[in-house]
């Protein structure tokens, strides 16, 4: 299956945000769950303003990798460097504070809340008013609410979901829920956006829409995107560079064309006896 993405945007045109120095560096990461070796000695980096994909067959360790970046799992070995700063211990809170936002493979939205409220929740780190200030609607709380709402409305327009602004998330179809989740991640104004299978379970139109939004986010806000996907076609079309994992090991790294012609990658996808 191929997803058509205007190739002109990718190749010919100048980038609005040219690649910068590595914003995220992972060195020799190993992760074990008891006796299970989930990740073995993995190193790669992500350049500023890049779209970087992590691909691999089921169980290759893709989500584990994302969870390590995000601070949910703590690797037994290896180090993470964000913007040149070596981080001894990454926690999810810390990750959010240094500008990493993410979406989840299984949608993790507040199902009973409206689209607007869900995306507002993504502004959490930008709200400083205390509980009492908000409860009493004191000036600071109101000012913050207005400012944050303006940012959220910009995202709603960006993602073209004006018509469902006030609809509870549980009533939306799957593709739109995914889009709302992207919106909530964007509301944090991240410098690095982690997307865990943003296109899983979508039909072809929804995938095309999602591709367009990912490219637009990268182009418009200059956000660095790290995404996991197991649909090869999609990944090859929208990523700048790809890391390939198989059984917790890195078996390929490079541009989509390089990865496509890599014999190990072909073997992993087509299946060769290990």
């Amino acid at each position: 299956m191929t997803i058509s993405v205007p190739s002109s945007i990718l190749q010919s045109a100048q980038r609005a945000f040219p690649f910068g120095p590595p914003i995220l560096e992972l060195e020799q990461i190993s992760l074990r769950f008891g006796g299970v070796q989930a990740l073995t000695n993995i190193s790669f980096n992500v350049l500023e303003h890049e779209i970087r994909a992590i691909i691999g067959p089921n169980g290759a360790g893709k989500s584990s990798m994302l969870n390590v970046i995000n601070g949910i799992y703590r690797p037994q070995e290896g180090s993470i460097t964000v913007r040149g700063e070596h981080l001894a211990e990454m926690t999810p809170t810390h990750a959010a504070e240094i500008g990493i936002a993410r979406t989840f493979q299984n949608i993790a939205l507040f199902r009973g809340m409206s689209v607007l409220d869900n995306i507002m929740a993504g502004r959490n780190l930008h709200m400083h008013a205390t509980f009492m200030e908000v409860a009493l609607q004191l000036p600071r709380a109101r000012r913050e609410e207005t400012e944050n709402r303006a940012v959220v409305e910009e995202i709603i327009e960006f993602l073209e979901i004006e018509h469902i602004r006030k609809v509870p998330v549980s009533r939306l179809p799957y593709g739109l829920q995914k889009r709302v989740e992207l919106g909530r991640a964007l509301a944090a104004e991240p410098t690095i956006l982690l997307l865990d299978e943003p296109m899983a379970g979508m039909n072809i139109e929804e995938k095309q829409d999602m591709c367009r939004f990912i490219l637009d986010v990268n182009d418009h806000y200059g956000t660095t995107v790290v995404l996991i996907e197991h649909d090869m076609g999609v990944v090859m079309d929208i990523s700048d560079r790809v890391v390939v994992l198989d059984y917790g090991k890195k078996i390929g790294d490079g541009t989509p064309d390089e990865v496509r012609s890599n014999q190990d990658v072909i073997d992993a996808y087509l299946g060769v006896a290990h």
Partner: protein
Amino acid sequence: MTTGNSGLDTFPKLLLHHSEQRGERPAIREKSRGIWRTVSWRELAEEAAALAVAASVHGLQRGAHVALLGDNRPRLYAAMCASQCLGAVVVPLYQDAAADEIASVIRSAKVTHVFAENQEQVDKLLAILPRCPSLRCIVYDKDRGMRHYRQPELVSYASLLQQGRQLIAEKRAFLQAEVARGTGEDTAFVFFTSGTTGPAKGVVLTHAALIDRARVAAAIGDLKDTDVAMAYLPPGWIGQNLFGYVQPMVVGYCICCPESSDTMLADMREMGPTYLLATPRVLEALLKQVLLRMAETGGFKQRLYRYCMAAARRVNARRLAGESVSIGDRLVSMVGDLLIRGPLRDVLGMSKVRVAYTAGDAIDGDLLMFFRALGINLKQLYGSTETGFFVAVQRDGAIKPDTVGLPVEGVELKLTPQREILVRSPGLFKEYHGDAATTARAKNAEGWFHTGDAGYLGEDGQLRIIDRMANVGALRDGAHFAPKLIENKLKFLPYIKEAVAFGDGRDMVCALIDIEMAATSRWADRKSISYTGHADLASRDEVYALIADCIDKVNAQLASEPALAQCQIHRFAILSQELSADDGALTRTGKLRRNAIAEKYRALVEAMYGGRSEARLEGSSGEEPAEVKIRDAKLVAPAQTRKAA
């Protein structure tokens, strides 16, 4: 009201007038990022002035043609004002027009400048740029996705505006002189009419013609500058321009641009328009939505709704007929208004509507009466692009569902022996753009315009429209046949979206049906009928039975009127695909293009008349061939109904 406006014979002069008279009153409201933002008359005038100055630097000249391509947005309206300030002619286009349609308009009108809404429209324009040598400048409004475009023809609206604001101080005298040079006889707009037959024609209308019609309409509707209208219809259609630009310019009322077409209903509810224009298509869609939701509610609410609406219809009918209404009915009607009709008007965003018009196509009497019974002052309006839109209007207190009302002030009507309506009015178009031969055929030396509509004037002086001249025909036994009437009766039913009736020169009437997917799919859900898509659902025997029931009802209605009894539908087929403007079956305003449909479905129509029970349709360009079933409808004997009547 508009007083002392005698010197104001062009739109730019009217704009300046409003900017002085009611500078801080709202001219345009737009919902953007969740908030209604207001552009006042003063701001609109200033923006238009700055834009005009910058556009003249970019080579826009008096008499040049400027196309507008996009949805109803304040910036496109400002661009309209700016172009006319310089004496340029505005050509509004349909925002969903395909690149080829746009190209033919640009070539025919030699358009030099285009204001486009967004990347989507710019892409269409860039694709046709090599074929349109006259096109020099494309101004785009929304810059999303436009970062990588480097074409020299492109300029962003924001930068144009900024350039204009810097230049305006030194160029103000120039601009004032340009505005003063304009006269009412100058061309204001060229509308390319979609045309149910043949290719689009450019209808040239002057400032004077449009302003005259708008003044007459303002007097009839008693419009004030506190009125509010929604700008939601296709901007390439004259109706939208009259209600969204021409009349606001004359009266000074405010228009509201919804956030998107998806949010239209909610936005309309927030703004509460007082003055409304709707096409029969829009009204049909609203009615179907109401019926659909009512069908899904509980039994008690359903019964209450039916009872209240029946009472309202009865009261409404008696009032229109000038008969007195009993105290009991009045009481029921009041309670019904409190419980059902008031809330329903609110949900439809029509609580505050003072005057509403339906125009653009013939409307079914029952549809009109539904909205009137709801308590909305909906009236028919008859006119076309060539006639400046306001030809005949139903008046308060004299509304008959089968007429389009009395001719408005200034309009003279004449009927040919073939019952074609001829119109002479100050609002008439100047000519068809660059087509003297067609102009001469349509408009004779004494200024009578051949509308192409068949109709007659009743003894009450009210105009009645039969159908397009080209559609009016006769069955082989001589009975009159006007397809529109039959189709409108069919379309009134919730499961039918479009219908095409055939019968001219044949011995019976047959119909093609396009099902209303939303309603039919919910019906199928309720009946636990599984299907894979539109084509599959349309071919189901259960759906054929459902549509056959609908047709039986229409046949019974037709049989009850002696003149129409012969026009009962004998056979029908359900189309596996929607009729759409993109494949040429409809015009951009949603009217049927009969010739194109007859051509496309020739095999199916012949099979219907040939008595066969199915036909094979060869798909055009890449579509799969499809088997379409044909079924007989039940006929109601006229004799039987005569007994009943």
